[in-house]
């Protein structure tokens, strides 16, 4: 049936999730089952489906459009998913987490994210948003015996539900103006009618903006991020910080840069202030952190700010820059959190900076991998992070947004300070005698190695991927 083609990737992932849950229920106590493997098969299948759907621009039920844009995001999500699943097995064993539930939640969340990127109807965006978020809330608190973890989970949950309500209210007002929730209808209505710029429109746009700003952790809706990232198991944090952002930015781009595009003048100023505040707060407050996960959370906030610059630029380069940035950021961040996760042990699950002291002497390979990821986060050539930042700021310069670009690069320099702090700890202090950091397993090494290699590849030979990103946006706008 033609109708199902566009949702093939999501269907495959959902089936894999259901299969995982089913397999878990058949598992005998203490029997070891490769549940992660099911997830990997599902994700690879989804990637294959996405490749087959490339350039076909299929639509399902009128509300899901698997255009190249959505498929690019699918690839990013599959990459994040595979990396997360591979890194999770060690954590699950160590912390005795419920494996079946864990993997199926990850997969459900990815299905929600894929749907969110491909949805062309506000109702579906809301549904996908909720599917993704609910799964992630549970994943945050999956370490049930950990007080900080459950605290993080409910903080995330409360603020998340709160912002979903705002988002929904915005959708309701949009429905009020446009009499439909389809994005094409919104675009037509907003472009066509002249009486549309009134208090209702302002409310609608504002509320939608609040909803999205929360999900991407933009200031001043970022308060949940440090706690949620710190309390969640570190692999989950890596998954959250990259996957949720990718899906949220995809929907953000679709809603604001295609439907509400004619109203740009209204929302661009507000968004600029938000972006500036995000970049500044993310960098400045990050400097003061002593816990690695919190620090990386603030770095996440800063990166959300850079991505917002891409939306503000709003031109073709800006959109493809966002896609490239999401990919580069996803690989880098999962890598950074992955190393942190593999360094933690039963006794020291917190991820303090002290875990990294003298890592070069005891675990040089891990130190090198972490350095690569940190340099990419800081935007040093020849890594993916540099090309991504260059791309986004180039788009801003194209639109004469020099102020934003300058703030962006200067905050980048400040952020280098706290990335380097970890490097200093790893290389320039002596290792702690009483603490022996865990060794890298073969899977861990392979996963992180591939991530690091891709970071270099994107940094040195980005032409292919940039071209892909550029062609991905042609289909929607």
């Amino acid at each position: 049936m033609d109708n199902l083609q566009a949702i093939m990737p999501m269907l495959i992932v959902t089936l894999a999730a259901a299969a995982t849950m089913l397999a878990e229920s058949f598992r005998l106590k203490d029997e070891r089952m490769p549940l992660g493997g099911l997830g990997l098969i599902g994700l690879v299948g989804a990637a294959a489906a996405s490749i087959l759907l490339w350039n076909r621009n299929t639509t399902s039920f009128g509300v899901v459009q698997s255009d190249n844009f959505a498929l690019f995001i699918n690839f990013v999500l599959v990459a994040v998913g595979i990396l997360t699943i591979l890194l999770s097995s060690q954590v699950i064993d160590r912390e005795e987490l419920p494996a079946g539930e864990y993997y199926s939640l990850v997969l459900f969340s990815i299905a929600g994210m894929m749907l969110m990127a491909a949805a062309t109807d506000l109702l579906l965006i809301f549904l996908a948003l909720e599917v993704m978020s609910l799964a992630v809330y549970v994943l945050t608190g999956i370490r049930r015996t950990d007080a900080a973890g459950t605290e993080a989970a409910f903080k995330y949950f409360l603020l998340g539900a709160f912002s979903s309500a705002f988002f929904l209210y915005g959708v309701a007002f949009t429905y009020a103006i446009v009499h439909s929730t389809r994005l094409e209808a919104v675009a037509l209505a907003v472009a066509g009618r002249s009486d549309v710029s009134g208090p209702l429109t302002w409310l609608a746009v504002g509320l939608l903006l609040v909803g999205f700003a929360f999900k991407v952790s933009a200031v001043p809706f970022h308060m949940w991020t440090p706690d949620a990232y710190e309390g969640a198991p570190t692999v989950v944090t890596g998954f959250m910080s990259t996957g949720v952002k990718a899906a949220a930015f995809a929907a953000f781009v679709r809603v604001f840069l295609s439907s509400f595009e004619p109203l740009r003048g209204e929302w661009v100023t507000v968004l600029s202030w938000i972006a500036v505040a995000t970049m500044v707060v993310g960098t400045v407050v990050g400097v003061a952190q002593s816990n690695v996960k919190r620090m990386l959370a603030y770095s996440s906030i800063a990166h959300a700010g850079y991505l917002l610059v891409g939306i503000i630029a709003g031109n073709a380069s800006g959109k493809s820059a966002i896609l490239f940035y999401l990919l580069a950021y996803a690989l880098t961040n999962v890598g950074a959190f992955g190393v942190t996760a593999l360094l933690a042990t039963r006794e020291r699950p917190r991820g303090d900076l002290a875990d990294f002291a003298g890592l070069w002497h005891s675990r040089p390979v891990m130190a090198a991998l972490m350095t690569i990821f940190l340099l990419s986060l800081g935007g040093f050539p020849p890594t993916a992070g540099f090309v991504a930042k260059w791309y986004v700021f180039g788009a801003a310069v194209q639109e004469q947004l020099y102020g934003l670009a300058i703030i962006g690069v200067l905050t980048s320099v400040v952020s280098v300070f706290y990335y380097l702090r970890i490097v200093v700890l790893m290389y320039m202090t002596d290792s702690r005698a009483e603490y022996e950091p865990p060794r890298l397993t073969a899977t861990g090494l392979a996963t992180l190695g591939v991530a690091a290699a891709t970071v270099f590849y994107l940094g040195v030979l980005p032409a292919r991927v940039i071209e892909l990103a550029t062609r991905s946006i042609d289909t929607i706008f």
Partner: protein, 102 residues
């Protein structure tokens, strides 16, 4: 008697939304905060149904049903998380949460 116009529904839903909003910001008990969030979601439902009625359009009502389903799922998960938290900390009072600073 003045006819009930959609404006009335808008005002009602705005009022409910504000009550919920204030509830989230002001109340101390986790369960009550969560109730307030549910109140906000239902306020939006009223809004959707009102507009659906105004133009004899069914999408709004369908959307409202979806929201109800989602809210139910959210309630299940939310209460589960609150319960897990309670098992660890023996409190549902927001003031006593000091494990992680802002």
């Amino acid at each position: 008697m003045t006819p009930i116009t959609p404006a009335h529904y808008l005002v009602l839903s705005a009022a409910l939304f504000s009550i919920g909003l204030i509830g989230v910001l002001v109340r101390r008990n986790l369960i009550v905060i969560f109730m307030s969030i549910e109140l906000m979601l239902n306020a939006v439902n009223i809004n959707l149904v009102a507009f659906s009625q105004q133009w004899q359009h069914v999408v709004g009502q369908v959307f409202a049903l979806f929201v109800v389903a989602v809210a139910a799922a959210e309630a299940a998960i939310g209460l589960g998380i609150i319960l897990a938290f309670y098992r660890n900390k023996e409190t549902v009072n927001v003031d006593e949460i000091t494990l992680m600073r802002w």
